[in-house]
Amino acid sequence: MLERRLIGVALHRWGIDPPSPFVDPRNPYMSDAARTSSTALPTRHDDQPTGRGRGLRRLAGLALGVLAGVGGFVDMGGVITSSQAGAQFRYALLWTVIPGIAGFAIYAEMSGRVVIASGRATFDLIRDRLGARLSLLPLAALSLVNVLTLVVEICGMALAVQLLTRVSYLVWVPLAALALVLVLWRAGFEALDNAAALCGLVILITVVAAVRLHPEWGQVGRSLFHPSPGETHPAGLYLFSVVSLLGAYMTPYQFEFYSSGALEQSWTGDDLVTNRSSAIVGTIFGGVITIGLMVAAAQVLHPAHAQVRSLADAAKPVATAFGEVGLVLFGLGTFAVSAGAGLETALSGTYSVCQYFGWDWGKQPRPHQVPLFHLLYLVMFVLAAGIALTGVDPIALTILTMALAAVALPFTFIPLLIVANDRDYVGEQTNTRAINAVAGIILALLIVVAVAAVPLLIVTGGES
């Protein structure tokens, strides 16, 4: 989510869209295939600034994008899983941030590069490479997780309003869903997504709170780089927490959203560099916020043996540090980041299905031009709001969904790895050995932990 916003929107808003890759035959980064094609995507060539002005504007755009990206990295899943991890295991799960950052950066960069180099959308490529039947598996896994993630984000918005108004979140669920639908329907996406991301910046309050709560920095530093099992805790619960944290750092919708955004905005070979750097910068910011959430929870909730069973529990550390003001800021921040993530999840869900079936997609055209694209997210919102309204415990659902997201990740990562190593699709832009090595390690970690967590959880009967 973050990177497309980081660069795509920022550049777009500053009027520095690069020319379409599909009309530049000299572009050295394009595969032959992409070079020979032209595409349905609209390209903008009007008033392109050149030379120094262009460089300056690009820089300014990037700065704005980075700001927007900071607020955009964390979502409801991140807020809950990180707070819960800090409450239950103090600093013992801080190390997960490192593979989380590495995994996100590596796979976000990969998905962006694959789309730029091939000129084709992710699920278009996956179906082409794996065939209609086999690729149905990643599509189904992604769609299931997307609908559940949408439930989580809608609940995040509604719970934040409950936190601020004391009126039950169930009242706000339909309103939150309706608000997001209207944004997508009226094509106000870009502006509102940016606004949500900028408002989401207030979630940085958790980092300030963490500092103010005087954690033992030495131990925080050690825990970051030295994985330590939670000694007094059931191994099943510990591993399950690792799984849901990894799922929260790398939620599947982010990659599909990111790469489709790159295609819709006609990124070129030039953007490969920006793609790479923004994938790294953005995730580091996200990592800092996650560490803030976890450390703050470790300072306040862990000593009290408290668990995160509601959004109010997750807000306690900030409220302890800053009182009522902190609570309000935390509520606003959670609302904003959940809204932004909700929009992106819905788009990601509808992108992937449209690309798989070859239906026209894109958020620029009006609904009557791309009816199936708009129908799909309407269906998603109806499903998601319906699930939320059953009154299922939103916090438990959030943690479970993030765990499920981690389990679903290999289904999208493996096809992506296959395509990213296939010269037929990406030409010269195949993965380097280093990228493949790190990507492989992350993938192995995901699979091993996910496979181990479930039986352990059953054996130890770990309660959460």
Binding site: S31, S37, F357, G358, L372, L375
Partner: protein, 132 residues
């Protein structure tokens, strides 16, 4: 490779390279995938080699790859949308303009029923919604 540039390869493998590619109509709108291909084996003219005559697309063509359940599901969706007499769409090979990362057709939206589903959604569901 699937993302074929014909001038570089000259020839492509149909199952690997052509099936599952996206279709683009004359107005550069995506309108489905190549789900299957039709080879003409008729023996009206003995000695004539088999000829590629059409590509098949549409939900029902896709559903066949998923077996009976898939077909029933696709028919159910058609019924739900009130589309009568659904059938896989055959696009004559003569209407294929170019094959590269996509398959470009010489067809406009109105000319074929490739877009039956999306047109129905637009006309029956979206027509009454504001802002569509």
């Amino acid at each position: 490779m699937k993302a074929v540039s014909p001038e570089r390869y000259g020839r492509i493998e149909l199952g690997k390279h052509l099936v599952d590619k996206s279709l683009l109509d004359r107005d550069d709108l995506r309108c489905g995938k190549v789900d299957d291909l039709v080879l003409d084996l008729s023996d009206a003219d003995p000695g004539r080699p088999p000829e590629l005559v059409a590509l098949v697309t549409g939900p029902l063509a896709y559903a066949r790859t998923l077996g009976r359940v898939g077909t029933a599901l696709a028919r159910g969706i058609y019924r739900l949308l009130g589309i009568r007499d659904p059938h896989p769409v055959e696009v004559p090979w003569s209407r294929v303009r170019q094959v590269d990362v996509m398959v470009r057709l010489d067809l406009s939206r109105a000319e074929c029923d490739v877009n039956a589903v999306s047109d129905t959604v637009r006309d029956r569901l979206f027509a009454h919604l504001p802002g569509a």
